[in-house]
Symmetry: C2
Subunit: 133 residues, 2 copies
């Protein structure tokens, strides 16, 4: 029996509501599931919140779950709502501003976001998405 080793104490199955949020940028929080090759994060951006232009070597792919965003990736800018998707290759500069109602998105990175290891926890609040289960 050689089960693949488990990289973290987290179980295989979890729920976004049971993950303590990290403060990833000012008032932007993320509930993070780490795996070996992938970091998945459910990210909440407040109304009109801005994540200013930045870049990293982690490829980033995402999906808007709720709210609205203005996303700029490289030379491309667009308005996205639920179902909107983005693909940001390694090293490509990107910026996002949430709309008047804020936004909740799921972001995925590979390789994993090791640079998030030292982040502080955010105050514990119920996740904005999914609402009213």
């Amino acid at each position: 029996m050689s089960e693949p080793r488990e990289p973290a104490p987290a179980p295989a199955l979890s729920d976004v509501g049971s993950i303590r949020p990290l403060q990833i940028w000012r008032d932007v929080t993320a509930r993070v599931l780490q795996s070996e090759l992938i970091t998945m994060a459910v990210v909440e951006i407040p109304a009109d919140g801005l994540v200013p232009a930045h870049q990293h070597e982690n490829e980033q792919v995402g999906l808007c779950l709720a709210g609205s965003l203005t996303f700029t990736v490289g030379q491309e800018t667009g308005e996205l709502g639920p179902g909107g998707m983005w693909r940001i290759l390694a090293g490509v500069r990107h910026e996002v501003r949430a709309g008047a109602g804020g936004a909740v998105v799921v972001e995925v990175f590979s390789p994993v976001r090791d640079d998030w290891a030292g982040l502080e926890h955010a105050p514990e609040t119920p996740p904005r998405w999914p609402g009213g289960s």
Copy 2:
């Protein structure tokens, strides 16, 4: 000027509703966004639909967007609804059955699902999620 090369003709920004679904398993469909390290797929499983136990070398992380699922990963089984998450390391056997209302999930794989390249398109229907935009 050395922009990273674009792996596919798709733009950086897109929308799940503009992606033609692939038939990934019987009546299970996926709207797929390919990147270099990551495959993201918005997957629809019909009511009581089963994806039987299987395994692959691609790590898989996912999030339930709508509906309900019974997910088995290795020795762990759980019932998940919107906000439910899973992390499947390379080579770990997993199975999923949708509940009576079916399910829509977002699945992410790394390395990319090259084995999906030859799949047929499914009939074009509006995505089940997000509803009523």
